[in-house]
């Protein structure tokens, strides 16, 4: 056996290892969670471990509401920010904003949650009423967390638009803004959509920061306003796993929540890949 063969085998083992881990997680999740996963579980209105009722519909809805609102906020701020960075900002300002945004990626989510707890929640309580722990607080915290991803991926997408499109547009007598709006952004839109989808994936899976600000009522209900407390899927697992009895239906229900989360995130990633592929296919 040649020496090069050994090296390539070792590399192959390392490569397989990460794939193997993913498969092990999937198998483990499904084995533990599949028994509790059924129609009553997904559509059930009541989650009450004491009464042996495990319906996640209010929690599922809470998750969707919190994530959707957060993404709308993050998109509304992040996309214009990306456009500014990629097309209009002077070099030094772009560097400054980008490095700040990158710091935001590195901030541990528990720290952002802490910020939400100490700044956002009292602010909401004092100005808008309610307990402060609310959907709105979840929106803000999650928007802060997905913002840097949306900004940097959208900016990449905009900057990847060939200069030749910009030149063609300017040479036709378009202004800078017309060029950005009509030539650059349409060409970058698939990349920006992918950025948003990945931001959603990040928001769905986020646990700690959300847990700290959304209130997590013991018996979740269908929210009626943005100041309502909600429960999200991830925080349910994080809060209840410590006291769920080993081998009980409660524990299996929590695993089933994990399965649901897993499928949501996989679906989002598939959507993102599809969107990116389509861009390449378009040339």
């Amino acid at each position: 056996m040649k020496r090069g063969d050994i090296a390539s085998k070792i590399l192959f083992l390392c490569a397989s290892f990460s794939t193997l881990i993913v498969f092990l997680i999937i198998i483990f999740l499904l084995r533990e969670g599949i028994s509790a996963l059924n129609w009553n579980f997904l559509m059930g209105m009541v989650w009450s471990p004491h009464k042996n009722l495990y319906g996640i519909f209010p929690t599922l809805l809470g998750t969707l509401v919190v994530v959707a609102g957060a993404i709308i906020i993050a998109t509304a701020i992040g996309v214009p920010c990306a456009v500014f960075l990629a097309e209009f900002s002077p070099f030094w300002l772009r560097n400054m904003i980008k490095s700040t945004v990158e710091v935001l990626v590195g901030v541990p989510s528990v720290v952002i949650g802490f910020f939400g707890l100490i700044v956002i929640i009292p602010f909401i309580r004092n100005n808008l009423g309610g307990r402060g722990e609310s959907i709105l607080a979840g929106w803000i915290v999650l928007a802060i967390m997905s913002l840097p991803h949306i900004i940097s991926l959208s900016e990449d997408a905009i900057r990847a638009v060939p200069t030749s499109y910009r030149q063609a547009s300017l040479a036709l007598g378009a202004t800078k803004w017309q060029t950005v709006r009509r030539a650059v952004l349409p060409s970058a839109s698939s990349g920006m959509r992918a950025a948003i989808v990945l931001g959603v994936g990040r928001a769905v899976g986020e646990t700690m920061a959300v847990l700290m600000v959304v209130g997590n009522p013991e018996t979740p209900w269908i929210p009626t306003g943005v100041l309502d407390r909600v429960r999200v899927l991830t925080s349910t697992i994080a809060i209840e796993f410590s006291y769920a009895e080993w081998g009980s239906p409660h524990q299996y229900a929590l695993f089933a929540i994990g399965v649901v989360l897993f499928f949501i995130v996989v679906a989002l990633n598939l959507v993102a890949t599809f969107v990116i592929r389509r861009r390449n296919w378009n040339g």
Binding site: S169, L172, G173, P186
Partner: protein, 274 residues
Amino acid sequence: MNGNEITPGQAMQDVFEEFRIDGAVNKVVFRDFNLWYGENHVLKDISVEIKSNIITSIMGPSGCGKSTFLRAIDRMNDIIPECRTSGQVFIDEDNVYAEDVDVYELRKRVGMVFQKPNPFPQSVYDNVAYGVRIHGMANGRELDEAVERSLRMAALWDEVSDRLDESALTLSGGQQQRLCIARALAVEPEILLMDEPCSALDPIATAKIETLMRSLQEKYTVVLVTHNLQQAARVSDMTAFMYIGEVVEFGRTKDLFENPEKELTENYITGKFG
């Protein structure tokens, strides 16, 4: 030699050619024009007169400033932050570099076609309609007509009339380049600048574009940058030879190729450098 005998018919044609070129009026006039990119002096004391309704080609080795020369006409060099100029460029009577010039109007007057075909990743129709919409020149039925007219002028209508809704990127390279020409013509320019429009194309596509250029000169002033000597000789009426930022020689294409005045020009034409 037999091939060089001049028949009376040919002599007449030559005379007509001479009238056509000599009788043309000045369209673009460079006067003591200089351009710098930062410290780099790219165009040096350019003073030339480009005539209307003929094809003028600019040739020269890479880096001689021929593309910059072309872009000086529609001020596309403005995009480069460190670009400075002195002197004037006139289109008809208007100094392009005057303070109160609206560059967007200027670029509408002066169409540009680039080296690599650069249609937008949008439909064929939207590509041609792009400039028309930007300038608010037409919509609805009128826009349809403008698109068709431009595509016909670019000799592309017959090939794409049934696929206007398809992505422009599905067209062949030569079709894409003619689409870019149609897109430029759609805003009804007076001048058409072409920056090595055939360098990315195969010989058949090149021939089509050259024929097209010939038909366009009736309505437009065409300025063509090319590194292809044969192309300059084939399609243009007048030719400028540029070398390191200067126009070395400028005259009728026939004269320039047959009896160059400067040794530098002769060396370039005969392939001693370039």
